[in-house]
Amino acid sequence: MTSTSSAGRVPAGLLDTEAIRKDFPVLDRLVHDGKKLVYLDNAATSQKPRQVLDTLNEYYERHNANVHRGVHVLAEEATALYEGARDKVAAFINAPSRDEVIFTKNASESLNLVANMLGWADEPYRVDSDTEIVITEMEHHSNIVPWQLLSQRTGAKLKWFGLTDDGRLDLSDIEQIITEKTKIVSFVLVSNILGTVNPVEAIVRRAQDVGALVLIDASQAAPHMVLDVQALGADFVAFTGHKMLGPTGIGVLWGRQELLEDLPPFLGGGEMIETVSMHSSTYAPAPHKFEAGTPPIAQAVGLGAAVDYLSAIGMDRIAAHEHALTEYAVGRLLEVPSLRIIGPTTAEDRGAAISFTLGDIHPHDVGQVLDEQGIAVRVGHHCARPVCLRYGIPATTRASFYLYSTPAEVDALVEGLEQVRNFFG
């Protein structure tokens, strides 16, 4: 970890990781008898800075109360903090209105929410047996299974874009896939397994031409780049707090206001109503209409602190850091004999998650031997099994970086892989 890169190229555009790492207590963790933790599992979940943890503590130690209905000090404060977090998230994604930001428990709930809304919607949004749903072969299971369920339950046809050999979407048949029958196109902005950054504009344009709604899964984008929902041109954008320095238990769904007004609610209960009688109920306006029950209050407040932290550094600078690091990592990994990157092999249109295979050594074994050296990577199908099927592999090893990742950690990974090869060679 202390040696300079053996490859000798120190990438430009890096952040001051020495300063940043001081904010993340877990990065000092020693594992396996004193080995320093090298945390390269950021696509699974990020670590949390002191600032987020302090915010959580302060919430619980001073302001904790249920929101929205209280006239006492704590309830007013908790409500102001919770709704203030909504303002922060709205600003972070450049939402036209704060009321378009819905807090969920994770990205999976956000994606399911849209699928369910469309199943129960009236025309023109209703998904039924005469209509089609479009996804891609590189989706996370959380953007596949909800649509399979919706398709089974409504009779709508599920279609998808395939993948090219170099890990990109194959849009050559876009006119056949997105048609007049398509009601919704849902796709990932940055793949969590391949790292691919997808061409939003081409897909959105075609969807708009046929009058289909667009849902973008930005779970791997929101933590790593400037996310501007207006620039994306989509109708819904989903992401998750725990991957962007926030607590677990909080996700976001952004949706265009007029859609949120028109579409039916998902979960029913306290907070999401206007008035209830035993015979019928009316619903509060969005976002509350979609937030049944006591929301993840502390978690939203914590996500607000995470967004503050990210913004203070600057999402463009974070993206530049990760781009430089990814370029460096791709270069170094390709030097490792028998290593095959699954996904784009350059840093262009690519996020900071790099999946690979190492000869025929099973990823479980790769991961385990790396772990013994303190290096945390993820192994398996990364909740994107169709991608593994597509490339004819059972699983991959994935290293994924974040704003606190360093070239030295890349070097540690490469050295660790040498040890794996020696061990199983």
């Binding site: 929205h68 209905r69 209280g70 409500t79 025309e123 007029e258 509060a284």
Partner: protein, 155 residues
């Protein structure tokens, strides 16, 4: 926040009761159940009467009474200006200290400045004002009275 003026209006509301009007609305504050039924009678461009019935807390009741005081007899444009000023004050989160100019416009209603610090109560204070705005719009758009509320994207 309970200024003497507010308590006075609460205990002795002005103009309470439902009388004739061109439009009637019923507004509810869903978080607390405060309700108001409010009628507007326009005499040309002048607010002829604002009559109301409702149940709710001292703030919502006093606010309706103050509204009646302030708006009845005023020209529509002036009434709207008063409404906007009151809205601004209530949304100020306690950050506006009413000056003489504002006091000139709002009269007794400046007593609600303190309420603006309590977000949960702001809705109470605004209930009758929002109802008045709504009813006035309806009274003016008579006989059609139905704004296009559909909107949305056609597939």
């Amino acid at each position: 926040m309970y200024q003497e003026v507010i308590l006075d209006h609460y205990k002795h509301p002005h103009g309470r009761g439902l009388r004739d009007g061109q439009a009637e609305v019923h507004h509810v504050n869903p978080t607390c159940g405060d309700e108001i039924t409010l009628r507007v009678r326009m005499d040309g461009s002048v607010i002829g009467d604002v009559s109301y019935e409702g149940q709710g807390c001292s703030i919502s009741q006093a606010s309706a009474s103050v509204l009646n005081d302030l708006l009845v007899g005023k020209d529509l444009a002036e009434a709207q200006k008063i409404q906007e000023t009151f809205l601004e004050l209530m949304q100020s989160k306690g950050r506006i200290e009413p000056d003489d100019a504002m006091e000139e416009v709002l009269e007794d209603a400046v007593a609600f400045a303190g309420v603006s610090k309590y977000p949960a109560r702001v809705k109470c204070a605004l209930l009758s004002w929002m109802a008045w705005k709504d009813a006035t719009a309806q009274a003016l758009s008579e006989p059609s009275g139905s704004a296009d509320a559909s909107g949305g994207k056609t597939a």
